[in-house]
């Protein structure tokens, strides 16, 4: 059974008159890859710094394997950090950087050498031990930072946007590498990022944060397919939100009026009443673009088309001006599959692929938002 490694109980943090974290509870399982995801200023970095001990919580408790570490200084916490800008010691060689933590533990010379060499081999930098950090590329420096943190065999590894300074291709490579390391070492990873794609592809679980409050905690699939609220829906992935009104509610199904089109859908988890406003959430890949003479769907016209290689992404303006994003896979049997700009079409979706959310106050549901 899963065991809880790190527990945050009602943790609060205030900077001046700004509450960054407000009585936050979070349990992190032993051995999992958990990601703290949110826009800048959502408190994710503060949360990480509280775990590391660089900041002290103003309230609440932090328990590591049942032991209260809320007031322990960073050097007494059996966890290590990979910093955003690596924070390698510039006056030391790569070897000495990695050996630093073991020297602090006063390990014998022989053991230090073996473990440092092992850690460097693990990140494929065995030949770079004698170099200084400034002689390495960004990706190599990142690997050194990881080796330096894992050489101490911590229970928990904290990673503060470690890939944000790398270019796109290198980032992809490092994502795969980090996953491999996490599997091989069996260390719990707490990963901070504002990149939702990174969060989805790497994590076992994702914590979506906004203004110091957890919006949703779940697997990447749950977060993407069944967002708990409009914030998560918009922040994670691209989203079409259609305003709808409930016309008829039965035990298992509901009928929704979306732009005058009536669809009978599965009944959602939240309580519903007839006449209530809801949001119908559809990912671009859920959208079907039909011929203009199709017998159903919302009429509109194509205003943008982007050839993406494996998919064709298009933007469609419905007749009332609502923008719809569609992402369709190429149909191998239809070589003429493409749109002209201005071409009239109808927009529909596959039954059961929609996700319903109650409408939220002060929120214009038809507004299209792209992730931050």
């Amino acid at each position: 059974m899963k065991q809880t490694l790190l527990s945050l109980r009602g943790v609060s943090k205030v900077f001046g008159d700004r509450t960054v974290l407000d009585a936050l509870d979070l349990d992190i399982d032993d051995g999992e890859f958990i990601t703290l995801l949110g826009p800048s200023g959502c408190g994710k970095t503060t949360l990480l710094r509280l775990m590391a001990g660089f900041e002290q919580a103003d309230g609440g408790q932090i328990l590591l394997a049942g032991k209260d570490i809320s007031h322990a200084p960073p050097e007494h916490r059996p966890l290590n950090t990979v910093f955003q800008h690596y924070a390698l010691f510039p006056h030391m060689t790569v070897f000495d950087n990695v050996a630093y933590g073991l020297k602090m533990e006063k390990r014998p010379q022989q053991e230090i050498r073996e473990r440092v060499e092992e850690a460097l081999a693990m990140v494929q930098l065995g030949d770079y031990a004698r170099r200084k950090p400034h002689q390495l590329s960004g990706g190599q420096q990142q690997r050194v930072a990881i080796a330096r943190a894992v050489v101490k065999r911590p229970r928990l590894l904290l990673l503060d946007e470690p890939l944000s300074a790398l270019d796109f291709k290198l980032r992809r490579t490092m994502q795969v590498e980090l996953k491999r390391l996490q599997r091989e070492l069996g260390i719990t990873f707490v990963f901070v990022t504002h990149d939702q794609e990174e969060a989805l592809s790497m994590s076992d679980r994702v914590v979506v944060l906004k203004e110091g409050v957890i919006q949703q905690l779940g697997t990447p699939r749950e977060i993407y397919e069944r967002p708990a609220n409009l914030f998560t829906a918009r922040f994670v992935g691209e989203t079409n939100l259609f305003p709808g009104r409930l016309e008829r509610v039965t035990d298992t199904s509901i009928t929704v009026d979306v732009f005058g089109v009536h669809r009978t859908l599965r009944k959602p988890d939240f309580p519903v009443l007839e006449g209530q406003d809801v949001n119908v959430l559809l990912r671009p890949e859920d959208i079907r673009v039909l011929e203009p003479d199709a017998d159903h769907g919302l009429p509109g016209k194509v205003v943008e088309r982007n050839y993406k290689g494996s998919t064709l992404d298009s933007v469609i303006h419905l007749n009332d001006g609502t923008e719809v994003l569609a992402s369709e896979f190429f149909d191998e049997d239809d070589p003429t599959f493409d749109y002209r700009l201005g071409e009239p079409v109808r927009v529909s979706w596959v039954d059961g692929w929609e996700w319903l959310l109650p409408s939220e106050p002060h929120d214009s549901a038809s507004e299209r938002l792209i992730d931050a």
Partner: protein, 256 residues
């Protein structure tokens, strides 16, 4: 386009800068005593310089004083810079501003006020009064040099060290000080040079028990320019050039 014009301009500027120094060096090897007539190559002024006991004593006094003043002001200055950089406290801005006051205020004002202070507390004028005075005017330069280095300092380095198990003290010893070492050396050299050639403040706060080189030279040239002064000037020139080259070498070697 007249190519010779900028060239001539530069030549004039450099000639004005370096010709006097060149003359000084050349005449320090001149055997003729009277005036500036060339009387053949000779090392006699160096000999007479080193046989002048009071002169050699003043040289050592100056060196010791500069060493002590540079070291003391580097230690105090580095700690001040660290405090100003790391902590928030009441009166921080005032403290920082006061450093600039010391740096900007006319030296003569500093000299008179220090003398008044020493007389008031009954301090015997000599090595201690000189040291206190020199540390006072060296301090702001050290603080500013170290603070400049600290402002470019990656704040996550101390955190990384703590994270890896270093106590605050160990972190300071193994990470903070090595990283700011070039600034400490630069500050020290600056203090050393400032102390070595200070005349104004030293004139006021030195006593008969501790004569230093700049004052000795000053009293020598007041009764006419002796050729020994040329020799002394040449030695000082070689010394400061060596220091300069050394500091540049240290700085480029430790860069990043």
């Amino acid at each position: 386009m007249k190519h010779w014009l900028p060239r001539a301009y530069l030549t004039t500027v450099y000639a004005l800068l370096y010709l006097p120094i060149l003359v000084l060096v050349v005449f320090s090897f001149n055997s003729s005593r009277t005036g500036y007539r060339w009387g053949g190559l000779s090392l006699q002024w160096y000999e007479s310089l080193f046989s002048n006991h009071a002169m050699v004593q003043a040289m050592w006094n100056s060196l010791w004083l500069a060493l002590a003043a540079a070291t003391v002001s580097t230690i105090i200055g580095a700690l001040t810079a660290l405090a100003l950089h790391r902590y928030r406290f009441r009166g921080k801005r005032v403290l920082r501003g006061m450093l600039f006051v010391v740096m900007m205020s006319p030296e003569i004002v500093l000299a008179i006020s220090l003398l008044a202070l020493f007389l008031l507390v009954g301090l015997q004028l000599g090595f201690v009064s000189l040291l206190l005075a020199h540390v006072t005017f060296c301090l702001p330069f050290v603080v500013i040099t170290v603070m400049a280095r600290l402002s470019g300092f990656d704040e996550s380095l101390p955190e990384a060290a703590r994270d890896l198990g270093a106590s605050d003290f160990t972190m300071t010893r193994t990470v903070l000080i090595p990283v700011i070492m070039p600034a400490l050396l630069a500050g020290w050299l600056l203090g050393f040079t400032l102390s070595l050639d200070d005349v104004v403040v030293s004139t006021f706060v030195s006593g008969p028990s501790y004569e230093i080189l700049p004052l000795r030279i000053y009293s020598m040239v007041r009764v006419g320019l002796k050729p020994e002064v040329n020799a002394l000037g040449t030695l000082l020139l070689v010394f400061s050039l060596t220091m300069l080259i050394l500091s540049q070498w240290i700085l480029t070697r430790s860069k990043r």
